[in-house]
Symmetry: C5
Subunit: 354 residues, 5 copies
C-alpha cells in the first residue's frame, strides 16, 4: 500500500487519462488468453497481439479475454479504440490502488475488485487488483500477474460442467467474481489458524512479541475489511443494474455472492473482536505478572529484613549488652527469629499471597 | 465457526449450486417426519424415502415435512425436482454457515435462522442452522440433527390446542420461528447466571482466570448478537412480504416475534455492558492489589532498613567509639530505634497506608 | 431484569397468547378504579369485578379504568371479550419484560412504557410496566402495583383544573404519559446527587469501592437509557398516528413530551459521560498513588542501603584495617555517611520527589 | 444543569402549560425594550408594562421587542393573549432547560437557542437560554438577564448600517441568531488557550491535577457540543421552512450561519480529540515516571545489596576464617567490592538504564 | 487553526458580508494572472488592476483568472460589481477558516477547498484555502499565496496537451480540483514515511517522546480527515449539479476525483489505525519494561537479602555460639550460602525470569 501511495504521489500533476501502471512489474510479457464458447462450440487460444481478439467482438458466442500483466500500456490503449472503453477506465485498470467499485457505461460494465493472497512467508496479505469489463457478449479480465484462481472456471467451460456454457457473459462475470470471493475463505482460514496459535501463546508465554503480533493481525483484518467491504456495494449495484447487460436469471446468483461477502465480513469482524479481546487479556496478564513479581519481592524482603535487623542488634559491639552473656541467648534469639519468620509467612498465607 | 470456515474454504472453486453439506454429520440416517392436518384431520408419519411425501403437496390440508440430518444430499436434491426449489436455496440449506435471512421466491419463501444451544459443558454456545421452506399449503423444515425444540408444536397440532389447526402453513412457520426465538431466552438465562457467578468471583478472588472468563463470555455475547440480530431484518421482511403466502392474520404474530427478538438483543447488550464494566473493575482491582502489595513492601522496608543501619553503625569495629563504652549505650540505642520505628509507623498511619 | 428473563425462559414453548404474569405478585388483590367524566359530570368508583365497568364503554363521557395488579389473569381475559382487545396485547400487558412500544389497532391504541422508581435503599432503580389502552372514549391503564404517580391527575380531573375535563381520552392518555415522564426527572435528580457525592469521594479517598460504585451507576444509566429511549419512538409514532384516536389538538402536547424525553436522555448521557470521566480519573489517581508509594520506598532504600553498606565495611573483622585504629576514624565515617545521606536527599529533591 | 434538573423534578405532576420559571432570578426587574423601524423610520423605547407594545403589532414597520428577565410570569402570560402564543411555547420560554429547537406555528416561528458565556472565574461555561418569536412584522426576544450581545445589532439598526433596516423581521431574527453563534467563537478561543496552557503543563510537570483538568475540559466540550449541535438542525429547518415568514433573500444568510455552526462544531471536536490525546499522553507519562522511579530503586538496591552481603561475610565472628588474617585481606575485599560495583553499573549502562 | 479561530472571534458582531481577510498576509502584492484560451487561441497576461480582466467575461473563449493573495479587499469587492458575486461568497473567500463546500448560484458555482502542504520543518501540515468561482465561460481561482501547484495546468493549456483546450470552464475547474487532490498523495506519502520511522523507533527505543510523537501524528491525521472529508460531499454535489454549468462530459471526470478522495481517506484511516495500534504497542512495551525492571530488582533482592541475613547471624556477638568454634564452621556457612543462592537462582530460572 505505501508502495502504491508512492507511485500515486509521483503521478500528481499528470493530465487525467494518462496511462501509467503503478504496480510492480510482475511478469515478463503480457499474456492474453481468449476463450470463445457457446453451448455447442468451444475454442481456446493464447494470442500475442491484442488485435487478434477484436474479431470475436461481433460473433454471437461469448468471448472471455483474460489479460495477465498490466505493464504493456500500448496493448491496454488499443482496447480503447476497438472496444470503446473510456480513457479513465483504462487509467483505473492500470492504477492498481483502486477500491472495489462498479461503473456502468452505456454498453459495458466496469468492475474493480481485489484478489487477496497470503504473502510467501504467510505473515501478511498481498492484494492484487482484478478488473473486469463486461460487454454484451464478451468479458475482459485483467490481472496483475498470472494466477491460477480462474483455473477451475476455464476447466468448467472446457468440460461443459454446470450452467456456464448455457449462459452469457454476465454469468461468466459472476463466475469470476465468485471465484475471487471464494478465495477469501481460504485466506481467512489461514488467519483463523494463526489467531488460534496466538491465543495459545497468550496463555502459555505472553511477551512483547505477542502484543506486536496481535496488533499486526488486527491491522491485517482492518486492511482486509477495507478491501472487501466495498464489494458489498458493488454487488448491490450490479443487482439493481438498469443497463440490460445483467440478465434476470443471473441476479439470483449475484445475491448469492452478496451473502458470501456478508459471511466473509462477519468472519473478519469476529477475528477483530477476538484480537481485541486478546489484547485486553494480554494487558491483564502483564499486570498479573507484575503482581506476581512484586509478591515474591515483598515476601522475601518482608521476611528477611526484620530478621537481619535482629541479627544486626546482637552484632553491635556495646560493652554492656546483658543478653550476650546469657547461656541460651543465641538459641533464644534464633528461636525468636524463627517465630518472627514463620509468623510473617502465616500472615502472607492469610493474605493468599503464597 | 472455524470448523465451518474450513469447510467453506475447501468449497472454493466449485460451481454454484453444488450441493455439499459443510456441517458435521450428526445423525446416522436422515429422518423425515410428515404431519398433515387441518381443523378436522390429523395424520403423522415417519417416512423413509422423500418421494412418499410428494403426494401431500397437492392436498388441501397443511403439511409439515420435518427433515433431521442434512448429509443425505440425494434426498435434498429430489426436493428441487418435486417442489421446484432453486438449486442455490438447496446449497444454502446444506451450507450451514449462513446468516439468518429470508428470500422470497414466486411460490415459496425461504427462511434461514439459527437455533442456539448450550454446549454440553455449558461453557459455550452451539448454533444449529434451521431452514424453512414455506409454500402455499406446506412447510418444510430442515435441522442438522434431531432436536426436541419443535416437540411442543407437534403436541399442539396433535392435541389441537390453540389456533394452530385452524390456520395455514404461514402460521405453522410462525410457530416454528417462535419456538426457536423462545429458546434464546433459555440460553440467555444460563449465561445470566454465569455472569452473576463471575461477578461474585470478581469481588472475592479476582485472578487472570477471571479476566479470561470475562472475555470469553463477551465473545459469546458478540457471537450471539451476530446470530440473532439479522433475524430482526428477517421478521421485518416477512411482515412486509408482498407474495401472498403470509396471510394478514399472521402478521400480528410476526410482530410479536419481532418484539421478542428486540428484547433478546436488549438482554444480550445488557450482558455485554455488564461484562465490559466487569473488565474495568477487574483492571481496577488488579491495580488496587498492586498498591496494597507495594504498601506492605514499603512499610517493611522503610521501617527496618533505617533501624538495621543504626545497628550496623554500632557493629563497626573502630577502636575509638565512645558510645560503646557507655553504661546505658545499648539500651539508649534500643530506645532510639524504638522511637524511629514507632515514628515511621505513625507517619504511615497518617498517610492512611495502615 | 434477570428475574424477568427467568420467567420468560420458562414460558418458552407455550402457544402465543397464553396469558401468564411474569412479574412479582405485588398486591393482594387487583384494584380497579373507574373515573367517568365530561365537562359537567364527574364520577369515581372502586369496583370489585371487571364487568361493572363494561357499561361505561358506550357512554358519551370519557372513562378512565385504572387496574392495579396484574396477577388476576381471569380479569384481564374478560377485557378481551368486552373491549375486543387482541390476545397478544393482553399477553404483552402481563409479560412485564416489554420495551416501551406503541401498537395501533383499528379501534384502540396500545402503549407500553416504563415507570422508574428508586429502590428502597436508594441504590438502584426499579422499573414498573405501565400499559395503556386508549379507545375512542375510554382509557384503560395497567400498573403492576398501586402507585401514587397518577394521583395528581385524579385530583386535576376531580377539581376540574386545567384542560383535562374539556378534552377526551387521548388527552387523558397524554396526561398519564406526561406524569410518567415527569417522574424521570425526580429519579435523575437523585442520581445526580449520588454522582456528585461520588465525585467528592473520588477526590478525597478513592478506593476499589469507588470504582465499583462508578460502574454500578454507569450500568444504571445504561439501563435507564434502554428503558427510556424507545419512548421517543413511541411519541413520534403517536404524533403521526393515522387512526383518528389522537385528535389534532393533542398532538402539540405530545410534541412537548417528546422534547422532555430528549431532555431526560441528554441528562442521562451527561451523567454517563461524567461517570466515564470519573473512571479515567480514578485510574489516574491509582497510578498516581502507586507512584507516591514507590517514591517513598525508593527514597528510603536508596538513602539507607548505601549507608548500611558503609557500616558493614567497618564491621568486618579483618586483622589489618588501618582505619579502625585511627583516632577520629569513627567520627570521620559518621561524617562521610552524613554527606552521602544528605547528598542523596538533595538528589531526590532536585528530581522533585520530595 | 443539575440546578435546572432539580427545578424540573419539582415541576413533576403540574398540568402542562403551567408557567414556572426554573432558572435563577438574575435581574431585579424585567426590562422591556421596543425598537420599531423601517428604512426611513427609527424609534427606540424602554417600556414598563408589556401592553404598551401591543400597538406595534399592527404597524407596517418591523418591531423588535426585547425582554430581559423571565421571572415576571404575568408579563409573559399577557403575550399569550395579545400575540396568540401557545401556552406550551410560553412554558418552554420559562423552562430554561430546553435544547435548541425550532417550532413553526401558523403565524409565528418559535426558536430556542443557547447563549454561551465563560463563568466569572473563567473555568466553566454558563449557558443562557435565548428564545425568539418571529412573526410577520415583529420579533420578540427573551433573555434570562440583560446582556450586551445584541448591542451591535441595536447600533446597526440605529445607525442604519448594512442591510438590516431594509429587510424585515426574518432578517432581524437572522441577525440575532448570528450574533449568538459568533459569540461561540469567542468562548472557544478562550478554551483553546486553556488547552494549550494545559498541554504545556503536561510536558513540564504532569500531576493528578492535570488529569482532572483534562477531564473537566473534556466534559465542558461535551457540554458545548450538546448545546450547539441541535442548532444545526434548527438552521436546516428554518432554511426549508414552508410558512412564508422566512423570505427567500434571507435563506442564503441562514446557510451562512449553518456553515458557522459546522465550523464551531469542528473546533469543538478538534479540542475533544486534543484532550483525549492529552489524556493518553498523561497516562504514558505516569507510566514512564514509574519506570524511572523503579530504575533508581533497582540500581541502588542491586549495586549495594550484594556489596553489603560481602561485608556481612567478613563481619562474621568465626574462629577460623583464614582471610581475616591475611595482610592484604581488607584491601583485597575492598577491591573485589569495587569490581562488583563497577561491573553492575556497566551492566545497567548496557541496559540503557543509566 | 487557533490562529484563525482568534481572528474569527474578533469578527463577532460585525454585520454579515463584511469583508475581512482572516489569514496571514503572505504576499506583498496581490498577483492577478489571466489566461484566455480556446482550441485555436491562447493568451496569458499578468495584470495590475482587476478591471483589466472584466472585458474577458463576455468573450466566447474560456478565461481563467487566478488571484494570489487575499489581503487586497478592494480588489475582491470589485468582483462583486462586475461578476455579480454575492457578498457572502466574497466573505467566505476571505474568511479562510471555511470547510470545503460547494454553493450553486444562478450563474456561477462557488467551491471552497483546502490545499495541504507540509510545514517547512516537515512535522506538521499547513492548509491553504483555495476558492473557485466557476461561471459559464470563466473560472476565477483564489489562493492565499503564490503556489506552484497549478503550474502543470498552465503548461498543459499553453502547450495544448490533453483535452483541456478543447473543453470549457467546467473542465478547467475539474483540472484545478484534480491538482489539489493529487497533492494530497504527496503529503500523505511523507507522513507514511514518518510513521514507518516512528514504528522503527517504537521497536528499538521507545520513550515518552515516541508517545508524544504518535499522538501528534494522530492529531494531524484527524486534522487531515476534517479538511479532506467534506470534499467528498462537494464532488457528489457537483456531479448531481442541476445548473447547466457542469457539462455531462465533465461529470465522469468528477467521478474520478471522487474516487481519488475516497482513496486518500482510506489511506488517512489506515494511518490512524496504525498509529492507534502503535500507541497500544507503546503501552505494552512500557508495561513490559516495568516487568523487566522489577524482575531484576526482585532477583537481586531475593538472592542477597537471605544471604546477608545468614551472615548477620554469625556476626552476632553472643558468648556462646557453638558454630563459631567449629573448625569448618566458616566454610560450612559459605557452602550453605552457596546452596541457598544457587537454589534461588534455579527457582527464578524455573519461573522463566532469567
Amino acid at each position: 500500500m505505501p508502495q502504491r501511495l508512492k507511485k500515486q504521489s509521483e503521478m500528481a500533476g499528470l493530465p487525467p487519462g494518462t496511462l501509467i501502471y503503478i504496480g510492480e512489474k510482475r511478469l515478463e510479457k503480457t499474456k492474453i488468453t481468449v476463450i470463445n464458447y457457446d453451448q455447442q462450440h468451444y475454442e481456446k487460444r493464447t494470442i500475442n497481439t491484442i488485435d487478434e481478439c477484436f474479431g470475436y467482438r461481433d460473433t454471437s458466442q461469448t468471448t472471455w479475454i483474460n489479460i495477465d500483466g498490466l505493464h504493456d500500456i500500448d496493448l491496454i490503449q488499443q482496447l480503447d479504440e476497438h472496444f470503446g472503453i473510456h480513457a479513465l477506465v483504462l487509467e483505473d485498470i492500470l492504477n492498481t490502488g483502486q477500491r472495489p467499485k462498479v461503473e456502468v457505461f452505456g454498453n459495458y460494465i466496469f468492475v474493480v475488485l481485489k484478489m487477496i493472497y497470503l504473502s510467501p512467508d504467510g505473515n501478511d496479505i498481498i492484494s492484487e487488483q482484478i478488473s473486469l469489463i463486461v460487454g454484451q457478449n464478451y468479458c475482459i479480465s485483467f490481472q496483475e500477474k498470472e494466477g491460477d484462481v480462474f483455473g477451475p472456471i476455464r476447466k468448467r467451460i472446457e468440460e461443459n460442467k454446470g450452467r456456464i456454457r448455457k449462459m452469457g457473459s454476465d454469468y461468466l462475470a459472476y463466475a469470476l467474481l465468485d471465484s475471487v470471493v471464494d478465495n477469501y475463505y481460504i485466506v481467512l482460514e489461514k488467519f483463523g489458524e494463526k489467531i488460534e496459535a496466538l491465543d495459545d501463546a497468550l496463555i502459555n508465554n505472553p511477551g512483547l512479541e505477542t502484543s506486536r503480533e496481535i496488533h499486526k493481525l488486527k491491522r491485517i483484518m482492518i486492511d482486509l475489511r477495507k478491501q472487501i467491504w466495498p464489494l458489498r456495494e458493488v454487488l448491490a449495484s450490479l443487482q439493481r443494474d438498469e443497463s440490460k447487460l445483467i440478465k434476470k436469471a443471473t441476479i439470483v446468483y449475484l445475491r448469492d455472492i452478496y451473502d458470501h461477502i456478508i459471511q466473509v465480513m462477519d468472519n473478519v469482524d469476529t477475528f477483530r473482536d477476538m484480537l481485541s479481546g486478546m489484547h485486553d487479556v494480554y494487558l491483564s496478564s502483564m499486570s498479573n505478572k507484575m503482581n506476581e513479581i512484586m509478591k515474591v519481592l515483598t515476601i522475601f524482603a518482608a521476611v528477611f529484613i526484620p530478621l537481619t535487623f535482629v541479627a544486626g542488634i546482637y552484632g553491635m559491639n556495646f560493652k554492656f549488652m546483658p543478653e550476650l552473656e546469657w547461656r541460651w541467648g543465641y538459641f533464644g534469639v534464633l528461636g525468636v527469629m524463627a517465630v518472627i519468620g514463620v509468623g510473617l509467612l502465616f500472615y502472607f498465607k492469610k493474605k493468599r499471597w503464597i
